[in-house]
Symmetry: C2
Subunit: 193 residues, 2 copies
DNA sequence: GCACTTAGTGTACGTTCGTCCACATGACGA
DNA sequence: TCGTCATGTGGACGAACGTACACTAAGTGC
């Protein structure tokens, strides 16, 4: 039998020292943004999602902006990592092109979460220069990854095209002919696969 | 000497019947969104910007969603109108291509407002299907405008490319070589100007 | 000019928000 | 074991929010 009164079981026996706390908050923040948008994100919702006390929010982050910055930084980095790894795995321009086509198809079809988070970030970056660093770094890494297989100018064009194709595919409710995207990419790369 | 107390002069002697009121609210709403984002838009801010009483908000619009829908509808329509007019003015694919290149250059350089509002709309559409109708109609009109000069498949590709180029140009802080965008567009159209 | 309808408004309510700070708690050297 | 310190917390506070509704003002037929 414990000699101190137990904290309410529902809150759980939170250990005081929790080294992953900050990371958990960031992860929870991304989930909240994905569900409610930046517009609907609040310290309270994030705290609830991460199962941490409200006070932890201002303890770990100076304010909403810092939290958003950290969350989107993590998001952009992880997406960049994934893209870079895929490009690194390709063994030549032809295979790289095939992978790019697959990415455009898959992104549009599957990942709603990715789409929402990306746009929330772009929207933030469009208005507040403080978030431009994030998008800049992301774009720079995308281009660098593409430059493994294409010349710099083509890499830039491809990067922009991927962006536009992904957006239009995702937002359009009518079904798309996948061949159109593949053809567009081929016209940019100039490869005759 | 008036027998009734005057309303405060600062608020002005608002006429009761004001047929443009709804439109003024919509216009003010767009300005608020451009400045504070959807996240920072409230009935109160819009009412202040439009110089109408708070009660007018719920009188003219059932809620924030309806207001946003009306505002973005107006925005998308006006942008579509502009683009369509420009395409209609072009006298052949070569001129159309030149105009498209100019649009990409200008949009990135000048219109911060356009960029912000566009992304706010996309973000909304990405999360809430209720706003997809707006983006769908917008995209459909863009494609139709391009189809004045290009075949349907090329028009789709061009539309997506314009999107991507505009975004990347606007968000990138490093200066861009305009020739890259022009070259990308040429690769898609296949024209040898 | 009066009675009645319609259009529009001011305000108060309950909710949710971010921030703050007095305090509780675990870590740790003596 | 105890005292001290840094870490972390709970709850209170004022500001801002959307909504609802009793009301005023303008329009309209007589």
């Amino acid at each position: 039998m414990p000699d101190r009164p137990q904290p309410p079981a529902s809150r759980g026996n939170r250990r005081r020292h929790d080294p992953d706390r900050r990371e958990r908050i960031i992860a929870a923040c991304l989930e909240v943004i994905a569900e409610f948008g930046v517009a609907g994100t609040s310290h309270r919702k994030v705290a609830a999602a991460a199962d941490v006390p409200l006070g932890s929010m201002t303890y770990h982050f100076s304010g909403m902006d810092e939290l958003l910055h950290a969350a989107f930084g993590r998001f952009a980095t992880s997406v960049s990592d994934g893209f870079d790894a895929m490009m690194a795995a390709a063994e030549g321009p032809e295979e790289a092109e095939r992978i790019v086509v697959a990415i455009v198809d898959d992104t549009a079809a599957e990942s709603h979460r990715f789409l929402v988070l990306t746009h929330e970030l772009y929207t933030l970056a469009a208005r507040e220069p403080a978030f431009r660093g994030l998008t800049n770094a992301w774009m720079a890494r995308s281009r660098a990854a593409l430059e493994r297989h294409f010349d710099p100018a083509t890499a830039r064009m491809l990067d922009a095209l991927i962006e536009g194709l992904t957006i239009h595919r995702a937002l359009d409710t009518e079904p798309h002919d996948p061949a159109v995207a593949a053809d567009a990419i081929r016209r940019i790369t100039g490869l005759r696969t």
